[in-house]
Subunit: 327 residues, 2 copies
Amino acid sequence: MNQKIRVGIVGYGNVGKGVELALSNTNDMELVGIFSRRDISTLNSKIGKPTFIHYDNIYDYEDKIDVMLMCGGSATDLIEQCPYVGKKFNIVDTFDTHAKIPEYFKTVEASTKQNNKLSIMSVGWDPGMFSIIRMISQAILPNGKDYTFWGKGVSQGHSDAIRRVKGVKNGIQYTIPIQSAIQKVRNGEQPQLSTRDKHLRECFVVLEQDADKKQVEHDIKTMPNYFADYDTNIYFVTEEELKENHSKMMHGGFVLRTGTTGNNKHIIEYSLKLDSNPEFTGSVMVAYARACFRLNKEGHVGVKTVLDVPLSYLSDKSYEELISTLL
Amino acid sequence: MNQKIRVGIVGYGNVGKGVELALSNTNDMELVGIFSRRDISTLNSKIGKPTFIHYDNIYDYEDKIDVMLMCGGSATDLIEQCPYVGKKFNIVDTFDTHAKIPEYFKTVEASTKQNNKLSIMSVGWDPGMFSIIRMISQAILPNGKDYTFWGKGVSQGHSDAIRRVKGVKNGIQYTIPIQSAIQKVRNGEQPQLSTRDKHLRECFVVLEQDADKKQVEHDIKTMPNYFADYDTNIYFVTEEELKENHSKMMHGGFVLRTGTTGNNKHIIEYSLKLDSNPEFTGSVMVAYARACFRLNKEGHVGVKTVLDVPLSYLSDKSYEELISTLL
């Protein structure tokens, strides 16, 4: 049996816990430690007894960990941590701030190359699996148009936005793809779809005592960027109802491409229906951690994305088994 | 502008014509010639004026063609032609005889390595796109089960089998996935499905004059391997009806994987709905020809499959454009 791949988790929020769970389902990987900036005496695992280590001591593990799984948020954590951690370790992250991807790529590349490490960036389902599907589908059907729909699922950013509204005690937001729009795409109609045509937003809101319901409703529906361009339905619920019915972090979505060859029409559709967004994201990261380790061992350094990784590197099965059972 | 990739087509049946059509939609590839074992004076293109060349003269093109697209059938053509053509050219093929894949891999590898050429084998949609989806999905959700359904679509092999039955003048067979079975999978039930549970077969048959209808029906329905294990519906039609309503080579199918992380369920679904099986297959081959050329230029030789090719190699777009628009 080969040596196991030694893995660390950086950041112990929902995605970090998802990675921990996914690692417990592998035979070829070993969780060495979980790094956090919080007081580590306050941290607990629901599924095992991992070693918690303060983030400040991460460089002490330079020779003890093969790949670090970076589980912080894109907005502030990854931008700061990945260049720092990537100097000493192979890393996998879920960076998803679209507009900043090219710039972030260069920053992380400069860092990982210093000690011949490799980063695989923007791993997950979007960016990630959906990027792969968009990439292949465009290459195969150059005469066509593709569409991405998200949901039904919880948007953390929009839920946060609701909770900042005056009079709101708690709340959650679901992004919902509009079925009639998906159906038009499936029919190969290649419709032009506005933001409002593709998704609607559903909010479940718990009010503060004495809050002005009408005002809250107005403030949410007219919020620029988040809600103004969408049809938004607001439902007022109690704190208990919110906890009982709306605490699952479900998500998912659809990527479709329709295109033609000569007079013939073709439709490619990929969809995900996920009970737990962070656990699925963690599972994708773990598969790419395996690839990251192997590619680095073969001499690859710098930054790669899901568009660069040969897919067989994701699996713990032998190449012979893959081509005889999966091809 | 870079030099265009110089491509040849070997075999001018339905897939060869699909490749010709797909090439006409590229900007970075050029069709140098179409090679056939038939009398080339009898060959005609519906979309352009390609150069037809007899297969016997293929080695004369050694320095004039970068990649040969091998468009013969798996059963007899590819097994013979790919080792021969692969000695002098990079090749892409659609080899799909599952049981023989490992053996075929070795034969072609021995041939291509002689002159540092590269083959990408078993390209298309199954094997091909479906293999990619099965591969990624298993790696991400190791606790799960996957399912492949084919259709609705025309099966060439089963149509040929019908036409060999005594009393049958002409006929076509559709493989149809059973929707209730797909629905069970989509619900995450992970059902055990027999051959009969997954697909049914629909035959449209033109009888010879004075044929024994009952006997034909019996002979088809009880044919081992092809029909005996399935529910089969037979419809008798006229030659005109067959031509009018059943001459499209539509196909497609579904790959699903359902799995769990902890207590949470996840469903991955990929589907294709293709008006023309050979034109879509040809389009996939053309994208992999691009990858084959590039990989060989970088020094890769021997045999690769869709599980080995980094996806960005399929596209004619720059890497910068891919990561900023597709990731």
